[in-house]
């Protein structure tokens, strides 16, 4: 009965927190923490480890932004979101940035009023089946039971794919990746479908990853990227250019190992100098410190390092760079110039 006091105490805390300012950047600085929306758990992209610390590729983006804005890669509050809650969480301001392998689509950008700041992973929807089924193409899946995560574009792609190929299937909708795993492993569905990267990550968590194959068909384009709310262009710029900085750093050969040395004094390459703040005032233009990009790169390394550390070929997830290689190496990663 007397616990009404807790509400009261929270009101007090709210009153003392002071007024809320209009700009996300100022909010984040005042709070001293970045609220970053991630998945509820997808190994390699965002998942808490045994100590409860979040790790992964998407987590790396959050940390880089936090490092650029606040100078501290650990100043992030990770907010786990499901397919259902992610957009409301962002729209309502509960999170400042959503880095949850979210596909950039027209309606999300235009109708739901979000701003995708770039693409950090070029993906496509694939299928995973147990090897023993002997299936080699998605077109052989007539009558199969398919586990899908609800609230994602995969659900719509799946319907389109089966409809276009005039074959039938049984959808089994699942809320989170975690719930899908046991259903698939116990055989309650024949096929598990999600983004190819997600399939690789899920398969890596299995006891015997070798018993399962990812089918060759990729049935959709899934450009995954971090996104922010419409309307705060300054904040969108910061996020866009942090992501670009990570990509450009790889292209320019700036890594977490040599960034400290390179940013100590201006070097020969003017673009690196501008990027790292030893020349020009890019940081100031963004409303950040001059060493914003250095901090972002220090947080977890450049794009390539993040990739290799979390989802690359030497990790259990074992994704090849593929489309996600630098443009100089035949991929699609192409950061606009820092100028």
């Amino acid at each position: 009965m007397k616990k009404i006091a807790i509400l009261g105490a929270m009101t007090v805390a709210g009153l003392s927190a002071g007024a809320v300012s209009a700009s996300t950047l100022e909010d984040v600085k005042a709070r001293g923490k970045l609220n970053c929306g991630v998945t509820t758990g997808l190994v390699g992209f965002a998942a808490p480890n045994a100590n409860g610390e979040w790790e992964g590729f998407d987590v790396g983006v959050c940390r880089a932004v936090a490092a650029a804005v606040l100078g501290d890669p650990t100043a992030v509050e990770f907010v786990p979101t499901t397919g259902k809650t992610r957009f409301t969480a962002l729209a309502s301001g509960e999170i400042d940035l959503l880095a949850r392998n979210t596909t950039w689509t027209f309606s999300r950008d235009v109708d739901l009023k979000f701003e995708f700041v770039g693409i950090n992973y070029y993906d496509g929807q694939g299928f995973m089946v147990p090897k023993e089924l002997g299936v080699s193409s998605a077109k052989e899946l007539d009558g199969a039971t398919v586990c899908i995560q609800t609230g994602t574009t995969t659900e719509l792609n799946l319907a389109d794919f089966f409809r276009a190929n005039n074959i039938s299937y049984e959808p089994v909708p699942i809320e989170t990746n975690a719930e899908a795993q046991p259903l698939y492993l116990e055989g309650a569905c024949d096929v598990y479908t999600t983004d190819a990267s997600g399939l690789a990550a899920t398969r890596a968590a299995f006891e015997n990853p070798g018993d399962h194959v990812v089918l060759p068909e990729i049935i959709s384009k899934e450009p995954l990227g971090p996104l922010v709310r419409h309307g705060d262009n300054d904040w969108a710029d910061i996020n866009r250019w942090v992501l670009n900085a990570l990509i450009a750093a790889e292209e320019l050969g700036v890594t977490s190992a040599n960034v400290a040395e390179m940013s100590a004094s201006a070097g020969n390459n003017p673009e690196i100098n501008r990027l790292l703040g030893t020349e020009g005032t890019l940081g100031e233009m963004l409303g950040l410190e001059a060493d914003w990009a250095k901090n972002a790169i220090m947080a977890g390394g450049n794009y390539g390092e993040l990739f290799e550390k979390n989802i690359g070929e030497n990790t259990p997830i074992g994704l090849a760079r593929g489309l996600n290689a630098q443009w100089t190496e035949g991929g699609l990663l192409y950061s606009p110039p820092f100028r």
Partner: protein, 404 residues
């Protein structure tokens, strides 16, 4: 709050608004109304502000657009090109289906357990009270998840039926119990099956008419006509005769293992069964307690009085105890049905596509129309609850009239 003394004379003063009981209630109501309107206006204003800031609007147009997703259990025709409205309708029917099945099974289990709890067999008493306590005291969500997990993990999957030496086999070559659900033969209605069904329905009507006649004969002339065996005969014989006379028009479609799944027959999905079972056994634990309380509420004197009139035990139960017990049992029973229906919204935990799964799940996710979807969702449940409450009030009033 009665005013006993004469109302104080004199002109109206402002302080009377608070201190005079005649005016104070108006003051309070006025304040409450103002606060309510202010709160509503505040929330509405915030909503408008937030929506304009986000550039969104409230619109139900999305209901007319193609849904784009597939639903695995549809009682009405539905494809991924149907509208969101149609998808919601599919969800409504699925909700009603699981609620209906759940209510029936919960009642059966609940009545049996409730009666057994009054048994004079010690072990049965203990077992049933163990059942009631364990199911009442653990959240239904946990039961749903347990049954689903056990279902998926313990039962064989279709792949186990495959091969020359399969790990699992079909029961009687007609029923398959798999982790994905139960497959059973489905009737195929050929030409002339309408006659068989009509005969069957007619014989059911006949059973009721016969029982009514027997009752009338008993009450008016004291003539005892046996009803049980004639009823059974009436139930089976005409329909079977019609079946053979029409040349066996109704056949069975057996499920068969084809490709990835069993094909044909009737398929009850694991999510439906898990939800149905869990809701039934959970609610049955509550119903059992009601039934027990209802029977105990009929005083022993009633039973003894009936016995002293020379009634046999089953007639005592039918004519004296049950009618009185039902008056105690039915109101809470209906509210348990209502709870079961509301709890069926937990379907979302096992991926059963009820209204919460379609309208409140996929449609909400795909369109991002959170406010509209949640409002519609609440309206649906509210309509169901209020109509059942209204029915219950009618019933309560009808039994009240018989009371003296």
């Amino acid at each position: 709050m009665s005013t006993l003394s004469d109302p104080p004379s004199g002109s109206f003063q402002l302080s009377m608004l608070i201190n005079d009981t005649r005016y104070r209630s108006y003051t309070f109501q006025f304040v409450a109304l103002v606060l309510l309107v202010a709160a509503m206006a505040y929330l509405g204003w915030n909503l408008v502000q937030n929506l304009t800031a986000a550039g969104l609007n409230i619109s139900y147009q999305f209901l007319g657009e193609p849904a784009g997703y597939d639903i695995n259990q549809t009682l009405i025709s539905y494809t991924s090109q149907s509208t969101h409205w149609r998808a919601s309708l599919v969800g409504v029917l699925n909700t009603l289906l699981v609620a209906f099945l759940g209510c029936i099974m919960a009642t059966i289990i609940g009545v049996v357990v409730g009666v057994l709890r009054l048994s004079n067999n010690w072990i049965v008493r203990k077992l049933t009270s163990f059942y009631v306590e364990i199911f009442r005291n653990v959240p239904v969500l946990i039961w749903i998840l347990i049954i689903m997990a056990v279902f998926v993990a313990v039962l064989p999957q279709p792949r186990d039926f495959r091969g020359d030496n399969p790990e699992a086999s079909m029961v009687l070559d007609a029923f398959a119990f798999t982790g994905r659900g139960f497959y059973s033969p489905a009737p195929i209605f050929g030409p002339g099956s309408g006659v068989v069904i009509a005969v069957f329905l007619a014989s059911i009507v006949g059973i009721f008419a016969f029982r009514k006649h027997a009752r009338k004969a008993l009450f008016e002339r004291g003539q005892l006509i046996p009803t049980f065996w004639p009823s059974v005969a009436l139930f089976f014989i005409p329909a079977i005769l019609a079946f053979f006379i029409m040349g066996r028009p109704i056949g069975l479609d057996y499920p068969e293992l084809k490709g990835f799944n069993f094909q044909g027959g009737i398929f009850m999905r694991n999510s439906l069964i898990a939800l149905w079972f869990a809701l039934s056994i959970y609610t049955a634990a509550f119903i059992a307690e009601n039934v027990r309380a209802g029977i105990l509420a009929v005083s022993k004197g009633q039973t003894e009085a009936a016995a002293s009139l020379g009634l046999r035990p089953n007639r005592i139960m039918n004519l004296v105890v049950l009618p009185q017990a039902l008056r105690v049992i039915i109101p809470p029973l209906i509210s348990h049905y209502l709870n079961l229906t509301k709890n069926s919204s937990l379907a979302i935990a096992v991926g059963y596509m009820d209204l919460t799964g379609t309208l409140g799940g996929i449609t909400l996710n795909q369109t991002g129309r959170a406010i509209e979807c949640v409002v519609l969702l609440m309206l649906f449940y509210l309509t169901i609850s209020l109509s059942i409450s209204a029915l219950m009030n009618v019933y309560n009033n009808s039994v009240k009239l018989q009371e003296r």
